[in-house]
Structure formats: structure tokens, C-alpha cells
Amino acid sequence: MRNVMVNRASVITGWGAGLQHLPPSADAEAAGRRVLPIPTPVIDDDRLRRATRECLLAIDCVKQLLCQHGLDRADLSGPRTAMVYASASAYAAANWAFLHADASVATYFPYTAPSIVPGEVTIAFNITGPYVSFLSGANAGLEALWHAVTLLTQDQCDRALILGIETFAECEALFTSGRWLLSSPLVETALCWLLEPHPALATFGYAAGRGEDVLSMIDMALDGHATTGIVLCMPTLHAGHHTRARIRERWPTIPVSLVTERTGTCLASTPLIGLLLSLAETHHDHLLCISRWDDAWSMVRWPRLLDPKSRASDPG
């Protein structure tokens, strides 16, 4: 049986590079700023002259991953590396720009396709393995994690690169129009997480559904499984506080972290950041990570290895 380990990750957010820059309270730290952008990286490559900012952020993030963990391009290239992408927002700027451009040449049409962001990464690093983009709003991050683990478990690849990109700066008005869906601040994110198989890890679980009460879903997830921490990711803080209170009331001994409080709104990247934070900062053995989008929940059971070799390396 091939099981999976958390191996290496690189996280850049509007707060800075690495998890150590995340504030205790995103809302307070933002001090009224509605969007925290990531500066556009400069990549000296003529091939990318028409590329959107999202593509440059993605390529730069993978470069950082390689640099931080002493890897090179050859470690990712080829058909045994999978690319699994998750985003809820990174296509919006290009689509909106093209929609308004009409006869002008503002955006090169192929860059309106969401898959162009992971596509540019596959080209830059010659990744030719399994490949899919999940775009199910804020739940896409956990879907990507489920799919990456499935690919590894079924021997479709030797390593899976999960890429999460969220951008807001170019179409801030669009996102703030939907303010009933999202809390401020909107925090741009570029995240990549390299998963590799490891025989020591126990079962990984995934569940998702619409319309059910979160407590009954957690009940089912906890059934017969030790859970020492719950990572909660909600698109609005108001809903997050309410849900956290209900969970605490029902399971007072299980710590619940509302990641959105620290990150701000990072949409599909929030649960991935939340898991990385918990793995890096706490000693929880088994995590339950929960995200919500519209009326749909997504949930991952991530049993953590205690073997030091399999611990998450510092994603900063």
C-alpha cells in the first residue's frame, strides 16, 4: 500500500513569504485594507511576455519551493509528477479584462482559461504527468488534496504538486461586490505543496456534501477515529465564529482553529495553509480540516505522522 506524506511546501501570501508572517488577526492587521496583494515577480523569460500575473506568481512559487528545499527542475520534470491546481479566483482578472477589452488587445485570449496557470508551470518545469484544475470555490483546495492523494495511492504518479493561487487586486470591485460571500481582507496567495508516498501514514479520508449540518458531518468523521485538532476554514468570519462556537460546545476537548482569522480570505488556499500551519505549529496527531463554500462542505481527515522524517518541513 502506498501512503502519502506531507513533504515540502512553499507559501507566499499578501502578508509575506512563509507562514511566519501570518498575523494573529488578519482583520486587525489589515487596518481597513480590502486587498493584500503579492508583488508581481520579475521572471526573465521571453516566453512569458504575455503571461498574466497569476502565471508569474505560480512559476515563482514553484521556484521558491525548489530553492528552499534544495531541489532542481529535474526533480519535478517528467510523466511521474502530477499537477493538481486549485483556485476560486485566479481566472477572474483575465476573464474580466478580456470581457471588457472587446476590440483592443488587453489580454491574450488563451490566458483567460483557468488551466493556463498550472499549464505555464507544467511548461516551465516540464511536468507531464496527471493534470487537473479544481475550481469549486473555496472547497477546491481540499478537493485538490483528495485528488493528489488518490493519484499517489493508485500509483498514477510518484509525486504530486498541489498549486493554489488566489488573486484579487485587478478586480477588487468585483470581489467586494460579492461581500456577503467573503470577509475582508482579501489576501492574495501563491502556494505549492509537494506530496510524495510514504508507507507509514495511516488512512486519509475525504468527504463532501451539500446542505447537511456540520455537526452531524463531524460526528461521522470522528466516528472511530482519534482527532486531536479541527482546522476550520470559512469564507466569512461571522460564519466561522458561529460554527466554531457550535463545535466547541459539542466537543469541548478538541481544539478548533479558525484559520480564516489569521489568513484573511484566501479562498481555496485557506485549508491548505491551515493544514500546513497545524502541522508546523502544533503537536496534533490527527487533524480534521473543514472548508465551506456556498451551501457545500468539504472535509479531509489527515492523520499526522509522528516519525520526524515524515513531519512537514518548515514551509516558510
Binding site: 500500500m1 502506498r2 510523466p79 476560486a88 476573464n95 474580466w96 470581457l99 476590440a103 485570449f109 488563451p110 483567460t112 482559461a113 483557468p114 488551466s115 493556463i116 498550472p118 499549464g119 505555464e120 507544467t122 511548461i123 518545469f125 516540464n126 511536468i127 507531464t128 504527468g129 496527471p130 493534470y131 487537473v132 484544475s133 479544481f134 475550481l135 469549486s136 470555490g137 477546491a140 478537493e143 483528495w146 485528488h147 492523494v149 488518490t150 499517489l152 495511492t153 493508485q154 500509483d155 498514477q156 461586490s177 460579492g178 486519509f204 479520508g205 475525504y206 468527504a207 463532501a208 456534501g209 451539500r210 446542505g211 447537511e212 461521522m220 468523521a221 463554500w293 451551501d295 457545500a296
Partner: protein, 404 residues
């Protein structure tokens, strides 16, 4: 909600128990099949929006949608959601799920699309105060609309591998079933014609002013179309327990990256080749078992040449004896819906013992030297079919299908 655990071995076959179609050549599976076999062209002048500033104003536009039963809930405004709901209702009726009291329990929804809710984005642009249009403009707007309308309680996944999305959605749906995260899955693809996409392809000069001529020496590009295709996926044991006879099986699938160019296929087709080989390996199928190939066949010079090369490399001399078709001349390239409509065509070919022709094929190209089923439908009952699909950003997908 069910907790799914990825497993190394697939214990049960994935059965297809229902199919639904909204297409430019016919609304519903029966009309779709008649149109394909009869060589009907769904290409016409586009009427829903202005194309006067574009080089090409034709495409596979759906002129009207038949109504649903008055007992059913009203349809949402979003055109893509409407297409999905029509196709899903047909597929679920065939699968015996629509009237079941347990319709929504554990029912997952996996929808692929190249454009998502872009039609709603166009509506929001015209009516900036319509926040419903804004909410529906996200890529996951149409799948959420479908799931809500159906009352599905399982996972709702929206994905994109550009124009290969319809094929990838079936693969992801099968994985949900294999890992136990859903009991049944509505999987498929959708895209609509709108100014956004017509303008985009117009600017790329990919649209032909001629007929769409897949694999023909004179081929000069594609025309766009719109539609939706849905299949119901279940584990075979679950379907048989319900007393439902499978239509066919998804034996294997793969979706892989080219890693070479954002729009053009890798000239050697190595990404597509790897995808086809991986799908066949996953299916446990050898080249001599392949009876039919439903090609992506866009009628662009590069795509058809590369696909032909890949089929010959993977299947060797056997490739010359296997019928290959493309139905994009019938209805244009329906983008996210294309691969799922073509999947349904493969299963119908098995059921009816006929393979639809590649329309407008007349002059052989030395680079495309396989049997493309020219002119008219052919009597042939393909038990095992290969379905290939390709999209922007180096997306490749392949399905291995088996008739039941």
C-alpha cells in the same frame, strides 16, 4: 455525506447507467443519435448575439430548448445551468434515479467546463446591479446551480482541463466512486456560445470560413458549438443491486499535461501518447482490443496530424484497421461538452451497431492516413472505444469505454 478513502485497487467496475444530451444536432439522446447517423449539420448563423464585427459568425448554436415537465422546479436564468439540468434530468430518468426517494442521497456532481459561468459574467456586465448574475459568473456557478436544482447531497466538484474537461469529469467522478465519497455521480460537461468565446477564437483566427473538415487535406480550422452532456456513474454492484442494467463501463481514464505550449499541441504528441497509454494501462486493455476511436478531431491542421501520429504509435499497424471519427463537423467544437457528447456517441454506437461518419471529409491528407469513416454511417459494433480530448494549456485526456 460519506467518508472516502483512496485505495490502491479498484474493486468494482464503474457502470454508466444513464445518459442525457443537449446539442446543436438534437435535444435528447434519441434526436442526437438520429442527427449524427443521418449526417445532420447543427451549424448555422449565430442569432443570440451580434457577430457582425467578427470574421466568422457561424457555429453550433442551440436555437431553443424543449420545456421540462411542469411538475419540475423552474429553471435558473443561467443558460449553462439550463443545459446541464436538461441533460441531467434525461440521464437520471434513464438511470431510474429521478423518481427515487433517495435521489439526492450521496449523489455527487462533477462538471467540467472550459468557460464556466461566463455567460452570467456577460449578463452582469450589461446589468451591473444584478448580483445573482455576478454570483453565477464563477466557474462553479453552473454546477452549483445543477446540484441545487437536483437536491444532490454529495460532493459538487467543478473542474477544468479546457476543452478536455468533459472527459476529465468522468475520470474524477469514477475516482469519487472508487474512493467511496459518493454512491452515484452525475458527471459531464457544458459550455455555451457567447461573445466572449467567439471573440477569443476569432482573434486567434482559429475559426474557419469553410466547412469543418476533420482529417481532410483541406481542413482550415474549427467552428464553435454549445451543449451539455451528462452520464450517471455508479459502481456496477450498486447499479445491479438497484436492478439497473448498465449501458456501458468506464474501464479506464487519464488526464495528463503536455508541458510544451499554451495553445499548440506538442508536435510529437508525446503528452497525448502518454495519456492514451496510461488510460489503456488503467483499463487493462491491449491495442488489439480497441474497436473504435472517437478522436478530438478539431479540424485544425496541427491537432488532426498529431492525433493521427499518436494513434499509430500507440496501436501500431492495428491503427489502420480501426475506424476513427470526429463529430465536430456535425455541431462544432462544444468545448467542455465535446468529450462527454462524444463519449455518449461511443456507447450509442455499441448499442446500435453503427458508427457516425466524419462529415465533410473528402480529400485524404498524407499526414492523416487512417480510416476516418467518410461520408456515411458504417455498420460496426465497437465494444471497446478510445475517446481522446485535448485542450488549451497542454491538457490531454483519454477514456477507455466498454459497451455493456
Amino acid at each position: 455525506m460519506m467518508f472516502g478513502v483512496p485505495r490502491p485497487h479498484k474493486s468494482d467496475r464503474i457502470a454508466i447507467t444513464g445518459m442525457g444530451v443537449v446539442s446543436p444536432v438534437g435535444h435528447g439522446v434519441t434526436a442526437f443519435w438520429s442527427g449524427l447517423i443521418g449526417g445532420v449539420s447543427g451549424i448555422s448563423a449565430i442569432e443570440r448575439f451580434d457577430t457582425s464585427d467578427m470574421r466568422v459568425g457561424r457555429g453550433g448554436e442551440i436555437k431553443c430548448l424543449a420545456g421540462l415537465s411542469p411538475q419540475m422546479p423552474p429553471l435558473p436564468t443561467c443558460r449553462a445551468s439550463q443545459f446541464l439540468i436538461h441533460a441531467a434530468v434525461e440521464a437520471m430518468q434513464q438511470a431510474g434515479l429521478i423518481s427515487s426517494t433517495s435521489t439526492g442521497l450521496g449523489l455527487g456532481v462533477v462538471i467540467g467546463s472550459a468557460l464556466g459561468g461566463i455567460g452570467e459574467a456577460e449578463r452582469f456586465r450589461a446589468e451591473p446591479r444584478d448580483l445573482h448574475a455576478l454570483a453565477g459568473a464563477a466557474y462553479d456557478g453552473p454546477p452549483r446551480g445543477l446540484a441545487r436544482w437536483l437536491g444532490a447531497t454529495g460532493p459538487v466538484l467543478s473542474l477544468s482541463t479546457a476543452c478536455a474537461s468533459g472527459a476529465t469529469s468522468l475520470g474524477i467522478g469514477a475516482d469519487l466512486l472508487h474512493t467511496g465519497a459518493a454512491t452515484s455521480v452525475i458527471a459531464g460537461g457544458v459550455d455555451i456560445l457567447c461573445r466572449f468565446v467567439m471573440h477569443g477564437f476569432n482573434r486567434l483566427r482559429s475559426l474557419t470560413r469553410d466547412e469543418v473538415r476533420p482529417f481532410d487535406r483541406r481542413r482550415s480550422g474549427l467552428l464553435l458549438g454549445e451543449g451539455a452532456g451528462i452520464v450517471v456513474l455508479e459502481r456496477e454492484s450498486v447499479a445491479r443491486q438497484r436492478g439497473v442494467e448498465p449501458i456501458g463501463f468506464l474501464r479506464g481514464h487519464a488526464s495528463c499535461a503536455d508541458g510544451s505550449h499554451i495553445t499548440a499541441p506538442d508536435d510529437e504528441g508525446s503528452g497525448l501518447e502518454h495519456t492514451v497509454r496510461l488510460a489503456m494501462r488503467n483499463a487493462g486493455v491491449e491495442p488489439e482490443q480497441i474497436d473504435f476511436i472517437s478522436a478530438h478531431g478539431t479540424a485544425t491542421p496541427a491537432n488532426d496530424r498529431v492525433e493521427t501520429r499518436v494513434f499509430k504509435r500507440v496501436l501500431g499497424p492495428l491503427a489502420y484497421a480501426i475506424p476513427v471519427n470526429s463529430i465536430k463537423a456535425h455541431m462544432g467544437h462544444t468545448m467542455g461538452a465535446a468529450a462527454i457528447l462524444e463519449t455518449i456517441m461511443c456507447l450509442l454506437a455499441w448499442r446500435h451497431g453503427q458508427v457516425p461518419p466524419t462529415l465533410n471529409y473528402g480529400e485524404p491528407d498524407p499526414d492523416c492516413d487512417l480510416d476516418y469513416v467518410p461520408a456515411m454511417a458504417r455498420a460496426h459494433r465497437p465494444r471497446i472505444s478510445l475517446k481522446t480530448a485535448v485542450g488549451f494549456a497542454g491538457c490531454n485526456a483519454c477514456l477507455v469505454l466498454e459497451g455493456a
